[in-house]
Amino acid sequence: MIGFLFFLSSTVALISALLTVTRHNAVHALLYLVITMMAIAMIFFLLGAAFAAALQIIVYAGAIMVLFVFVTMMLHQGEVTMKQEALLYQAKQSSTAIILCVLLLLELVYMLSSFSTAQTIMTPINVNELGAQLYGPYLLLVELSALLLLSALVGAFHIGRRHQEQDRQL
């Protein structure tokens, strides 16, 4: 059952990921991406990482993707953008990239397949344990994450600031 669910969700995730990177319409792509996120959350859940699955949906699909959608909607100008995008990306012209990606995948798979994990028993990690670790030996990481977010905040704030003359243009 778990196996089947895994196959199902992984197939969904891959297909929607593929669709994500090939769409011309950014909003569509983002919606496919949300589906991918959901599917991945499902896999997390199957792996026994319930907390991760929840975060995947809340933070990723919920917060980050919404941010994306918001920005995209802001910059989206309907048909014009679509036409532009159609010019910018044509699947036919991406044969080199496809070859590269397939090569990369094959090599990675080949290299990793040379090793088989002996242990295949899953031990779910509960939130308790996670929290104990996170606020125990890894406390520093939490603080550093704060710094990371701070720098992102300041950076985004500074760059995203509206300039006087640009206001007039928009």
Binding site: M111, L112, S114, L140, L147, L148, S151, V154, G155, A156
Partner: protein, 481 residues
């Protein structure tokens, strides 16, 4: 406990300074005060860090404060401190708000400190991201500047991709070894290798993608020139020194632990990277007229040179047993590179709007002091004796000869000669007599004189009397577990 606190104190100081700066910006923006606070904070951090030199090492599962860490941390803070001294004048000419820059500077320095102290992939990764994500806004800082924007986007996207590759590598390592701690991993690597698989190699390659990108080594060097050119000068300085040096320490740590010389394929790859960086980096710089691009290319070459030290860490067939010399070589070269390059960027900050080599024409006759300092710094980059650059190169040559890396040494020679060519070309331009002989000595402030003095002291003092540097480095390298 106080001893342990001492190790954290510089970071705490820097972080607190950044918080104060943020609060200041939120309450009332005063550039001068912000500058002052930053400088004071960094000075304090530098002092504290200096006091840490020579202390017994300390480690947690995430962080390692050994001699190397403290020494390199000192250098990193020093670089940031020197930059902060020059920032005021430079930022004054900018239309954008100024305070954020200090904040980001402090944060990226903090990130670098964490990177160079990390002995756990989580802390390494987080430090790295703090550093690079703070750098992105710093690169794209001038809002009016299209080139800065372009550079910022390029850096962001590429560094995200590089991070993704690095994360993949870490994930693979974690998947198969079950640990994220670097020393623990090192103990498990032989076991992994014994089963005759290539996972370790695969992971290291992926990690190398990220590292070569951050160190701008060939073939992942393409971004560096564009970003240097587009970014504001102090950011470039930070990119060229702090971020690279911090990362290199991790690379060094990684290579110190494992039994790398058994993995010929990897060694081969690193050899090729080193040789290609030396040759291609210098070739790219050869006829380059844009100063920033030139410095970018030369930094490629310099990190190619320094890879020699990595390769000499555990040589397959050494001439003689020289203990930790390769390690010392790497650190000494980092020291030389960092001080010199920071010096050069500081000088360029004093010469605003200098992008093209020809803009330096006649500098020697108009602003003698600056030109002499710049000349000395360039000579140090070129590795001419009596500068710290030569001492670094001497160390590298010594260990490379010891490890019998003859082909790489040939590349080093070719690269050095090419390098000398373009450094000398800059000097030539500076001493070229301008048509109109105008003595427009731009007044240099006391701070600037002080900073130039410090740089010259580090570069020439270290070159003429290298024993202090050598002894310090040796002592610090010795402080390990």
């Amino acid at each position: 406990m106080s001893g342990i606190m001492g190790f954290y104190l510089p970071s705490v100081l820097i972080t607190s300074t950044s918080l104060i700066v943020m609060l200041m910006a939120a309450l009332k923006r005063t550039h001068l005060l912000t500058n002052l606070i930053t400088t004071v904070g960094l000075s304090l951090a530098l002092l504290v860090q200096l006091a840490q030199l020579g202390k017994a090492p300390y480690q947690t599962s995430l962080i390692l404060f050994d001699g190397t860490t403290t020494l390199v941390s000192t250098l990193l803070i020093l670089a940031a401190w020197l930059l902060s001294l020059f920032l005021f004048n430079w930022l004054q000419n900018l239309k954008d708000p100024k305070e954020e820059y200090y904040l980001l500077l402090l944060l990226s320095t903090q990130g670098a400190l964490i990177v160079c102290a990390s002995q756990h992939f989580a802390s390494f990764f987080l430090g790295l991201e703090i550093m690079s994500l703070s750098l992105v806004p710093m690169i794209a800082y001038p809002g009016e500047d299209n080139q800065a924007l372009e550079a910022g986007i390029k850096y962001l996207v590429l560094s995200a991709i590089a991070s993704a590759f690095m994360l993949l590598a870490i994930a693979i390592l974690y998947l198969y070894s079950g640990t994220l701690s670097i020393p623990e991993l090192a103990t498990k690597v032989p076991e992994l290798l014994s089963s005759g698989n290539i996972i370790n190699g695969c992971a290291i390659i992926l990690l190398l993608v990220g590292i070569t990108f951050k160190l701008s080594l060939v073939p992942c060097h393409l971004w560096v020139a564009d970003v240097y050119e587009g970014a504001p000068v102090p950011t470039t300085a930070l990119l060229a020194t702090v971020s690279k040096v911090a990362l290199f320490v991790v690379l060094l740590r990684l290579f110190m632990l494992g039994e790398w010389h058994n993995q010929t394929a990897l060694i081969n790859i690193i050899e090729v990277i080193a040789a290609a960086s030396m040759i291609i980096g210098n070739l790219l710089a050869l006829l380059q007229k844009n100063l920033m691009r030139l410095l970018a290319y030369s930094s490629i070459a310099h990190f190619g040179y320094i890879l020699l030290a990595i390769l000499a860490l555990k040589p397959a067939i050494a001439i003689s047993n020289v203990d930790t010399l390769a390690n010392e070589a790497a650190i000494t070269y980092l020291y030389a590179y960092l001080t010199t390059v920071v010096g050069i960027f500081l000088m360029l900050m004093l010469l605003p709007e200098t992008h093209h080599i020809d803009q330096l024409k006649g500098l020697f006759w108009q602003q003698r002091c600056k030109a002499v300092v710049l000349t000395l710094l360039l000579l140090s980059l070129a590795g001419i004796p009596l500068t710290i650059g030569f001492i670094g190169k001497f160390y590298l040559t010594l260990v490379a000869v010891n490890a019998q890396l003859w082909w790489l040494l040939a590349a080093l020679i070719i690269g050095s000669v090419m390098g000398l060519f373009y450094y000398l070309r800059i000097i030539l331009v500076m001493i070229d007599q301008p048509e109109s002989h105008s003595e427009t000595e731009i007044i240099t402030t006391h701070t600037q004189l002080l900073v130039m003095g410090v740089v010259i002291l580090l570069v020439i003092g270290g070159g003429v009397f290298p024993s202090m540097v050598a002894e310090l480095v040796k002592e610090m390298i010795g402080l390990t577990f």
